[in-house]
Amino acid sequence: MKGDIVGFCCNYTANVPAEVLKEAGLVPETLRIRRLPCTGKLEVAAIMDALADGAEGVFVAGCRVDECHNLTGSQRASKRVAYAKEMLKELDLDPGRVEMIFVPRGEAGPIIQAAREMKTRIAGMDDAMTRALESEGAEQSK
């Protein structure tokens, strides 16, 4: 779907199912939340796979640094998000397509904000992916 966003959340940052948030009209319809035991488990490859599978933006929501359930899990995740950003640059993609956020435990508000922000962010992007999607769209309309 156009404008797909994937949010990687851990057990402690995703207490509200995405479906419920969508039903309430609080987040973009295109959000998919992938729940992990801990964001420290997240590999760079998983972020890249999400983009390769059609996501236009990815955010990773980890615990606040000082209250991570697994102590350093969210810090690890944040490092990997930084690697992913580097890789995106090399691929001529906007590094803003991947973002790390830190969320106080059990709060849905920041997740909603992140999803909305990512939506507006990708809408204003001009990189290899937008161009590819445009030409794809143009071909389809032909």
């Binding site: 509200v16 039903e23 609080l26 849905a108 508000g109």
Partner: protein, 940 residues
Amino acid sequence: MITNASLQAIEGQPGSFVARVHQEPRYIDEDKCTACGTCTMYCPRPVADFYNERLDVTRAPHIDYAQAIPASYYIDAKACLRVNYETCNLCAQTCTAQAIDFSQKPRDLELEVGAVVLAPGFGRVDNEVLARFGYGRYPDVVTSLEFERLTCASGPTEGHILRPSDQTRPRRIAFLQCVGSRDETCGNGFCSSVCCMYAVKEASVAKEHEPDLDISLFFMDVRTQGKGFDAARKRAQEKYGLRIIRARVPNVDQVDGRLLLTWVTDDGKSHTELFDMVVLSVGLSAPEDARAIAEASGIELNHYNFCKTTHDAPLATTRDGIYVAGAFQGPKDIPESVTQASGVAALASELLAETRGTRSVTVTYPEEDTSLLEEEPRVGVFVCHCGVNIAGVVDVKAVRDYAGTLPGVVLYEDTLYSCSQDALKSIAEKIKENRLNRVVIAACSPRTHEPLFQETLRSIGVNPALFEMANIRDQCAWVHSQEPEAATEKAKDLVRMAVAKARLLEPLAQPTVDVIPKAIVLGGGASGMTAALSIADQGYQTVLVERSDRLGGNLRDLKWTLDGRDAGKILKDLTDRVNSHTGVEVLLGTEFKGMSGYVGNFTSSLEKGGQTELVNHGVLVVATGGRPYLPKSYGYGKSKRVITQLELESRLSKGKNPLRNVRSIVMIQCVGSRGDDMSYCSRLCCSQAVKNALKIKEFKPDVRVYILYRDMRTYGFSEDLYREARKKGVIFLRYTPDRKPEVIRQTRGIKVRVYDRLIGDEIEVPASWVVLSVGIAPAENEETARLIKAPLTQDGFFLEAHAKLRPVEVAVDGVYLCGLAHGPKSLEESISQAKAAAAKATIPLAKGKVAVAPIVSRVDKSLCIGCGICENLCPFNAIRLVKEGKRRKAETITASCKGCGICASHCPALAISMGGFTDSEIMAQIHAFSQRECEERRES
């Protein structure tokens, strides 16, 4: 009254304690302060208004709220500039009553007392607990106490419900229940008992004010178990469209300036919605200073830091002579707190019965000067400034001078504060000097001040009925504060009317009636025995009337109390004491057949074995009890396997043997209660079921116990039992009235079919026994109610005179109420209430005389046609028809008359008039009112 004080220690023995008390100064003399508010106006130091939950500001000198007692301001010593820095002193300079006194010092008092009552109330839930729900972080998350102030007309927003963040009107409000209650993580594992009902009330008040509001309430269980509460909750739900959601909301989020709630319902579905405002229904914690109180008074606390008591002596602390009432004994609502307050009075009175009256002072008054009335009316008018309270709006001097022009007025003056001691003295002297025989005071409300002025009249030999008040404060200065001229004119009108009435006032007698020092208690159950013993212990003869041939009532069928005490022992102790007490006469097998007379002088007919005996007595306590509901449903009576909770208790009392072949027990709640035959909640069945379930688990842990319930109403500390039962593996399944469980009898055994909400399907549970939690039905109250002419509720229980203020009195004077006759309640509550009824019943007995209010109806027998309308209409049974010769004539029983005036207003022959409000007096007032208008018209 010693305010601003704390208890330091209690030394000595019951009957001769010494209480050491430390008192901080108020810096305002309570006797001089007239509560005018000038000090607050001039004080430059703003402080948070704690009464308004810090939603508003006030000044260092203030009064918490207008009705506060003592009706005196006090200075917040922490904020005051004069107290802390010796500067300012503005308030002292502006106080016209010279009530502000910075020379006051802290005092240490030693009080000699015989008994001590602890009633410190309850404490607040920690802000830390509230912070879990966003309180303090999101401004639109408020506590229920804050919301109460927001909805109050005298509150910071004048009753408009506004969001604290942006002062806009919220459209959607959510109430979260059990904040700081039923929550072990914050230390409060108990249920606060009152929050469910107060949330419904607050939601209703909010809807009354803003009909468009959309209100959702999040409950775990809806615990509206109080008398009449379920009906009130249902009405509110229907009338205001309150949305009730059964879920516990874990936390509160903020999105787009609104509050996001997420919850999971018991069908496993997750929901999310946005609200504009969230109200946290905070629970009742133990008082913050509970430990200090316990140390100072030498009592023990329970594991929640409330006062430790037992179910058979709920008002006694662990130290003799020290009693407890109200929320410190356990979370409870107003009616129960007021009941307990009366109950502890009985306990103190029992302890100190011997010394009754030894330290009382009798006020004597001079003979009334009857020669005054032989003269023409000589009216004195005193117009009060009340500081600036009246004089700030009304031109007091103009009103005073106007009074001088009125006929009959010989003295007209203005006073700064009529109610101050100096002013009262000067008024008394002037009445004497000028031989005034009618007095008019134009000041504040007769409700608060009439007795004070009448007392002044009595003290100089003037009949207090020769007094009239014009309320120019409330009715002129307050309501017309923006229109001083019109207010002054209205004040003149009121004074003219008062003078016109005063000229016709007649002295009224102040009769008293002797009281027969004897009480009858109807009903020999736990309540009746407790009440009878208490009255007897307080020193008055008591007749305990029991219809059956044994004492004990429903207590006989109870085996254990909720706190695990042996009910049989409690019963034995009570009956032994009753039987051996010389002050209690027990009449078994005796029926109450009728009662005549009035408070202090009743005559009852008691029938025993066909013989009728007449007994004269001063008061009556109704403790006729209730009975267990007999179910017709669920196959009760058709199988030995289907039994009631009491029958289960009786089986369990034989130990674990009866459970030998039992593998599974299903309990069904609300059998009869809440809908079927009785519309009300029977209050104690939930706790009883949990109690028995625990007993089963104790005897035989592998028995599977299921409790099918609608709302688990284990309020107060019974919540502990509920939690323990869950921990021990008792399975709780909620059902709704549209999907009731079914009991299915099979060839071998029995099973119960019930809808499991979590699975979303019907399940069948094999049951060795099915235990029905039957409700409490009223006894034959209709007959008793007819005999004593007391009203019943729709549900068939006796109706108290006022649910909150007079919970153990009946509308008929001298008749009191306790136990199951009043409504379903636990043993603990029945005992508290029995003590309360005993305390109230002893008041007339101890006084020895019943003072009759002078404002009663009087029948002019020459005009009376004997139609009997008045007798039928009188709500207090205070007027009756008597034969005089061949005719029937009405006669007021002055001791029972409340002076409501219904008889006078309905008498077709105008034969009845009310003391102090005769037709001619009222007509004179009305004529005086229109007089000025007539004059004006004549002139034009």
